[in-house]
Amino acid sequence: MALSFNSSDSKSRSWLRWLIVALLAVMITAVAIPQYFFGQLPWQSPPGVAQIKTIRTLKDTGLVLDGWSEELQQKISIGGDQWSVQQLTHANGAAPEQMIIFLKPQGQSKDQPEVEWIDLQGAQKWQTSHQRRLREGDLSIDTFRAWTSNQTFAVAQWYALPQGGHPAPHHWFWRDQTYQWTRDERLPWVAVAILLPMPPLGDISPVYPDLKRLSQLVQSSLAKAAFEPES
């Protein structure tokens, strides 16, 4: 049953076995020795994120959006990490008039998306309902209705990546693996949540088109402001 080739000839058998030792020796001379003596060990020079400095400054500056004027930008601490929170108003008074953006940019190249959504929800003391994942092109967003005792929001959240975005950490993870294999770089990310005020405990479905449109606006301006390679 097993497809093994038992060689009866002991000479050819030992020839095959020494071939394996030869393969190991090649690995040592071609890879290990140069790493040990002439280069850096792989864990001493981990791949980085090329745009990390630009991304990190997002939490101080927030994001500039076409057609929106900034009323307030603050650096706040959520779950021990620093986030930027911005309050924006639509320049020409068109609906929706107001928007709040939470951004948590990656701080170091080795930071991975983890529990940002739970941290945000816990810090804001939100009750939530109507969870739904929306998708447009290569951008997926998680939307839901969030409320506290005095306000209700329609929320969209996702991890923004250089191409598209997705709310699940595993989506980032597999793309990051591809990045490491093909480019020797880590995949940058920014956690984004946008909040649109809505009537207390109102219907969220009319807000979906706005959430989609604004998510794409935020995604594309992040792509320009943060993810574009520095020239």
């Binding site: 093994s4 038992n6 060689s7 030992s14 076995r17 690995m27 792989p42 929800q121 816990g122």
Partner: protein, 308 residues
């Protein structure tokens, strides 16, 4: 099978050559795992999930050493899948991607077992190999963590209920416990995922050591017991942590959370595994069949030995 004694080369020459190569290739990596990652906790939380390797890898080496005579009596054969493993290991090792480099070690060893002694060699060394595989740091905990949110919620709710029962004013929101205005988050690693990993690993070692793997029933009950002990232990731990935090006893909180109080807690948890396995050995039959049918007309008891 008895191997033909080779007159020219010494008995262990191939094995010695292979082991020397593996030590040169992976010695620095293992040093990095153990010293930087598990002792100095300087790599990542995901890496620390595998810190049971500090015990597991030396144990695996000892088991391999114990089996050296049986290994030597196995006939030489080379299975094609061994060569495939070696090639993948080679690609992973040279990739420069840390997770792949880590994975290349168990892959390379599997390949070597299959190439030197074929499937029989792999079967002989399977248990030490499994010990190594489960000690190999990967991003598996990272991928699991988002899925244990229900467990975190459950632990937070039960811990809140217990404190409430003692008459304390506690509020539970999702995975957050707030007491006297202090917030405690039941994070994934706090929810005992790390402890569960360690417990399951030690469970594996105990299963092998005591030989209860010969009985599916006993093994099943043992592993259910491990999971229960781990969950209950974490409910208690989080309850106590919330109590300390809510009463601003920050020294006590840090003692249990990251100082040697945590180690005492882990030791008690692992000690309870021994108690469970003792209880199973004295109270649980080897299988339902032996308990009920065995006396009947000489039926074969359905004990299915797992061949390690």
């Amino acid at each position: 099978m008895i191997s033909v004694p080779q007159s020219k080369s010494p008995r262990w020459s191939i094995e010695l050559a292979v082991i020397s190569c593996v030590v040169i290739l992976y010695g620095p990596l293992l040093y990095h795992w153990v010293w930087d990652g598990w002792i100095n906790k300087g790599i990542s939380i995901q890496h620390e999930y595998f810190s049971h390797g500090i015990l597991g890898i030396p144990l695996a080496i000892k088991l391999v050493w114990d089996k050296r005579q049986v290994w030597h009596r196995l006939g030489d054969s080379c299975h094609w899948s061994g060569i495939a493993c070696l090639l993948v290991a080679f690609v992973f090792y040279t990739s420069g991607v840390m997770d792949a480099i880590n994975l290349s070690l168990p892959l390379l060893l599997t390949g070597l077992l299959l190439c030197l002694k074929g499937p029989a060699g792999l079967r002989l060394m399977l248990f030490p190999l499994v010990l190594l595989i489960f000690s190999t740091p990967t991003q598996l905990p990272y991928l699991i963590e988002p899925h244990i949110l229900p467990l975190q919620r459950f632990i937070a709710t039960v811990a809140g209920t217990i404190l409430h029962g003692f008459g304390y004013d506690v509020e539970v929101n999702q995975i957050y416990l707030s007491m006297n205005g202090q917030l405690v988050e039941v994070a994934p690693h706090c929810a005992g995922l790390k402890m569960l990993f360690t417990s399951l690993y030690m469970g594996l070692v105990i299963t092998y050591w005591t030989g209860i793997y010969n009985s599916r029933l006993r093994t099943g009950i043992f592993f259910v017991g491990i999971i229960l002990v781990s969950v209950i232990g974490n409910i208690l731990r989080n309850t106590i942590l919330t109590f300390f935090h809510g009463h601003s006893m920050s020294e006590a909180f840090h003692w249990l959370h990251e100082s040697w109080g945590g180690d005492v807690y882990s030791a008690v948890m692992l000690g309870s595994l021994i108690l469970i396995v003792n209880a199973i050995q004295s109270h649980v039959p080897v299988s339902f069949a032996t308990a009920t049918v065995a006396q009947k007309n000489g039926n074969q008891p359905t004990v299915s030995p797992i061949d390690f």
